[in-house]
Amino acid sequence: MRPAVSESRRAGGREPRGPGRGTLRGREARTGLALISPTVVLVLVLVVLPILWTVVLAFQDLKLIRLRTDGLFGNFTFENFADVFGSPGFWESLVTTLVYACGGTAASIGLGLVAALALRRGFRGRTLVRASLLLPYVAPVVAATFVWGVMLNPQFGIVNELGTGLLGWDEPIPFLSERPTALITVIVFEMWRSFPFAFLFLTARLQAAPATLEEAARVDGATPTQVFRHIVWPQLLPTIAVLALLRFIWTFNNFDDIYLLTGGGAGTEVISVRVFDFLVSRGDVGAASAQALVLSAVLMVLVTVYYRFAAKDEVA
């Protein structure tokens, strides 16, 4: 407790509201800052600074092979943006990203809502069913994409085997290597993988909904669908809006799933896969940064919207 005395005196000088209150407040503030600052430094150094640095990199002509010799500040240019915006691949990729993000978001929330409603009333084994439905969300993405890839394999995958054998398909469908099925497939995969998240959120919201409202409606003669339409749905809507925003943010920037399923081929090259490609395969750091910056800009807008609408009292 020794250093606290001098600290509190200094802090007391800053706080004009009275020495006793100021002392405690000042000590509290010092402890708080001491406890939080390691994390703040870590996040600043490894997340915030790198993001800012991306801005600098986007205006530089920097190639991976010259990385060890070139200075890290220099060769400034606007060419990266001219190249990126000038190439048709970028715009096509932006459209793909939007389709993927919208489709994946809608599909996963839709299925999550269906699941939450179906599991709303209790039954024997509900806990087990609920846990099982969460598995796609927690399973390692590499294992999940690998199994899906094998399942959808045209030579010996089970889906094509059943499709040609039982459903009478004329020939196996190359799910992951043909337009436009590949994009649909990755959206379905995104639905499979992310619906548990929506399911969890909506289940929690449904549990918080007061039962009396629905009982009253039922007593007044409303049918189950009417109860859903007029009582449950309006209560879920704000949650669904927040979910849609969150899922869109994450799906829009999703890299792992598409990279592992198709490698970005067959019309599924989303921007995040393009960023990786420019960085690692082509070694064009500047162009990769410029495209990452476009992603960041979109993201910044979305995060601001999220903060405004959903997270204000969350953070305070």
């Binding site: 994390t39 960085l279 750091v285």
Partner: protein, 315 residues
């Protein structure tokens, strides 16, 4: 009410059995129909959902025990026969490369090391930070919370370029501690967020009582707050472990050049394209990758789902 006039036709069948005849009775029957249809539909949906979510996992386990040649002969069979069951796939995938295997045992050691390291460092940062955010008032409190939220929402692909360049430049890109540090920076925001929510549910009055009895801040933390928060800290540790174990992008960026440093995720993704390695052997690899996570998850499901949806009620 106009609703009575528009009772749908299909309700006449049930109203016939009810014989009440009054408008109130007919309206009740529409409810009956809907309730019955939805009651059946509900079980169909639950069965369908279970099939949809669990089938890939079943298929994974099934293929990992099947012999490759019998799989190619009869790919449509969904249950194994006793004669073709084999565990040689697991032997192949686990054995080190020197003895003809794929070296997954080594990958597992790397993954485990990285994940445990990430958990330890993240918790050290997060316990202190979340306590401060939950309990103490200090300048910049709000700004820091907003920053953590933004970090939580920012996806890793945006960090890929600068971190790749930075660690290449300083020559630490292949080093496991560098990867651990990156993972910590990715998980610490979520961890703080989850722990802070928990700390806020612990009554302050307990700590105040201890303070009145003369305990200082750190004694209070060590003797009172931390033991109370142990369940949350534990579930947090498991959550961070799962993130680090599953992570793919940074493992790919940092470790891909040196096979001896591959994690399980990276190893499986790199070997998946190869023609020489039988699919069933790699399937055994995915089972090995998935099982620790599923076991951890099922053991802590209740704790974790509480954390994942924290704040959903407010939405």
């Amino acid at each position: 009410m106009t609703g009575i006039a528009t009772v749908p036709a299909e309700s006449s069948a049930t109203s016939g059995t009810q014989r009440s005849g009054s408008p109130a009775g007919r309206r009740w029957s529409r409810t009956t129909v809907e309730t019955r249809v939805l009651g059946v539909l509900r079980w169909v949906v639950i069965a369908g959902l279970l099939l949809f979510t669990l089938f890939p996992f079943y298929y994974m386990v099934l293929l990992s025990f099947r012999d490759l040649s019998s799989l190619l002969q009869d790919p449509g069979r969904l249950w194994p026969t006793l004669s073709e069951l084999t565990v040689s796939t697991y032997r192949d995938v686990l054995a080190p490369t020197e003895s003809g295997g794929q070296g997954f045992l080594r990958f597992m050691a790397t993954s485990g090391l990285v994940a445990i390291g990430t958990v330890a460092v993240t918790l050290a940062f997060a316990v202190l930070g979340s306590y401060a955010l939950a309990r103490l008032r200090f300048p910049g409190h709000r700004r820091i919370s907003v920053m953590f939220l933004a970090v939580y929402l920012f996806p890793s692909i945006l960090l890929a370029v600068p971190l790749f360049i930075f660690f290449t430049r300083v020559g630490l890109r292949g080093a496991l501690p560098a990867l651990v540090l990156v993972y910590v920076s990715q998980t610490v925001a979520v961890a703080i967020y989850m722990l802070r929510n928990y700390f806020q549910t612990v009554p302050v009055s307990i700590e105040e009582a201890a303070a009145v009895d003369g305990a200082d801040r750190f004694t209070i933390m060590r003797r009172i707050t931390l033991p109370l928060a142990m369940p949350a800290i534990l579930s947090n540790a498991l959550f961070v472990f799962m993130i680090a174990w599953n992570e793919f992008l940074f493992a790919l960026l940092f470790l891909v050049e040196d096979r001896s440093r591959w994690t399980v995720s990276l190893g499986l993704s790199q070997l998946a394209g190869s023609i020489e390695i039988p699919t069933t052997v790699l399937m055994a690899g995915s089972v090995i990758l998935t099982v620790p996570i599923v076991v951890l998850f099922l053991a802590t499901e209740r704790l974790l789902t509480g954390g994942l949806t924290a704040g959903a009620e407010k939405g």
